[in-house]
């Protein structure tokens, strides 16, 4: 980064630190913060989509659909999220490969599961083994995003289902009395009023989502936990910047990062709640 960094063995103090903290691996470390933040940002629309679908399925008049919605929203209450994070990516990966295998290698006679092996033809590999490294990384990141969206979508569906039920009946009846169609009532009255009831639950969900993001590490994504362990581990004199076991320091830094993230989110949601409560007949709007 700086000119004096060419030989780190010769410098010390502030110069050493400035070189150490700006070397290539540390730039990767800083970049991984963006990876985590982009995962958070990317999953939110999917979570809301899954949440709405789940909530509407639970309210559906078609019985099997309602069962599906109920099972989907209750399963996350009984099973730890980490199990979904482990299960969903590998299950999806295998599912995609089986489908591609069926299409591309229909002349393949052997079965896919041979004892303890999972064998598909080379053309069905996802991504192809010949594709560059970044394709593999993006694919892994995408599977992780979907796993997060499925789990947190179920949580969101619970919240949205509750919020849809919390809108005062009188409001909907007034709409009906005006001769609005069910679709109009839903779009003009039910949905806009639902948000203020859903927001406390959704903001809580956002906090849980932030705090689940280091689990990306377990999914093989090179996130902040990966780099903190990598950089913090003790480095012998063979390395350019030898030091002892600094993992505690790096993890303290991650702790501060997360504390700041949750603190800032809390402030943001407080303001949003205040705004949304305007004109609503709830305790928050009276303050």
């Amino acid at each position: 980064m700086f000119e004096y960094c060419t030989d780190p063995k010769l410098i010390e103090g502030f110069q050493w630190w400035s070189c150490y903290l700006s070397n290539g691996k540390h730039l990767n470390f800083y970049f991984s913060f963006l990876v985590v933040l982009s995962l958070l940002a990317l999953t939110v629309p999917f979570i809301l989509l899954f949440g709405f679908t789940g909530a509407l399925a639970r309210r559906a008049s078609f019985t099997p659909l309602r069962w599906f919605g109920t099972i989907y929203t209750s399963m996350v209450r009984g099973v730890p999220d980490i199990i979904f994070f482990l299960f969903v990516p590998i299950a999806m990966d295998q599912g995609i490969e089986v489908i591609r295998h069926k299409i591309k290698c229909s002349d393949w006679s052997e079965s896919i599961r041979q004892g303890n092996d999972f064998v598909v033809c080379t053309a069905a590999k996802m991504p192809l083994s010949s594709s560059p490294q970044w394709v593999h990384e993006t694919y892994g990141f995408m599977l992780a995003t979907i796993a997060f969206a499925i789990v947190f979508g179920a949580f969101a569906a619970n919240t949205i289902h509750g919020a849809l039920g919390a809108v005062p009946k009188g409001q909907l009846e007034t709409g009906a009395a005006f001769g609005m169609s069910p679709r109009q009532i839903f779009h003009r009255i039910h949905l806009p009023q639902m948000w203020v009831y859903a927001l406390p639950g959704l903001s809580n969900l956002w906090m849980i989502l932030i705090k689940a993001s280091p689990l990306l590490f377990l999914l093989g994504v090179e996130d902040i936990v990966y780099w903190a362990r990598e950089l913090g581990g003790s480095k012998t004199a063979r390395f350019a910047y030898p030091h002892g076991d600094w993992r505690l320091g790096y993890f303290l830094f991650l702790l501060v990062f997360y504390l700041f993230l949750t603190w800032a989110s809390e402030k943001f949601f407080d303001r949003l709640m205040h705004r949304l409560s305007r004109g609503q007949n709830t305790a928050a709007s009276m303050a």
């Binding site: 399963m75 099973v79 980490i82 482990l86 705090k211 689940a212 903190a228 076991d245």
Partner: protein, 267 residues
Amino acid sequence: MSCFDTLTSYGLRSIGIGERLLPKSDFTLCDQVVLIGSGMIWNVYFAVLALSLGFFFAVSLALGRNSDNALFRIPAHAFIFVIRGSPLFIQFFLIYEAFVLIPKMGWDINLGFIEITVETKWLTKAWLGALITLFLNTAGYTANIFYGALQSIPKGDIEAALAIGMSKRQIFWRISFPTMLRLAWPSYTNEAIFLFHATALVFFSSFPAWRQKGDSLYYASYFADKTFNPFVPYPIIAVYFISFTLLIILLFGYVNRRLNRHVASNT
């Protein structure tokens, strides 16, 4: 090997009793059910101890947070903020690294008349180190729930107690504490479920499993790695977790009914 043999040789494998080698190939459904079930012993151990010990610490924290004395209020508030604001996953790593740095040989504490050595090597082992982490974590979350409940105790109840001349101590034990528990119980049930689910992180992510003695997720991922088939071990562990979650809901529901038995029901 019949399923009964599997049960006797692997039923207590997670705590080091029985066959030493894990099955290496030809995994039967029975192998997977028994070993993952054996790992559940650890999940239950962590959940029961962390919850029952954490409860008392949480009550003290909530009272500290609610106190007029800044000396209690500020540390309690700070502790709750740090625990609730950071991921449990990071807390596990942080505490593990901190415990590793503590001298392995133990500390000599000189009490003047006698010198005692505190054993610290157990801290890096999951049964104690992870338990401490889970204990602190649940105490932080529960304290926040209890604090919220303390804040929403009806003022009239306290005033009525003052009016008939109860002492502060009496008011706490007869009015505030029972009301706090009653109001907090539904949220506390949720926290208990979350903590139980969090026990799955212990061996899998932070504290190394010694001699392959791990919890249910440790064995489930072992099978998933060995067989390349996630569709058997993960549903098994899911069924275990769902059953224990239902058990928690049942137990806490019973307590909830007892706490509320004097309240007129509106159904």
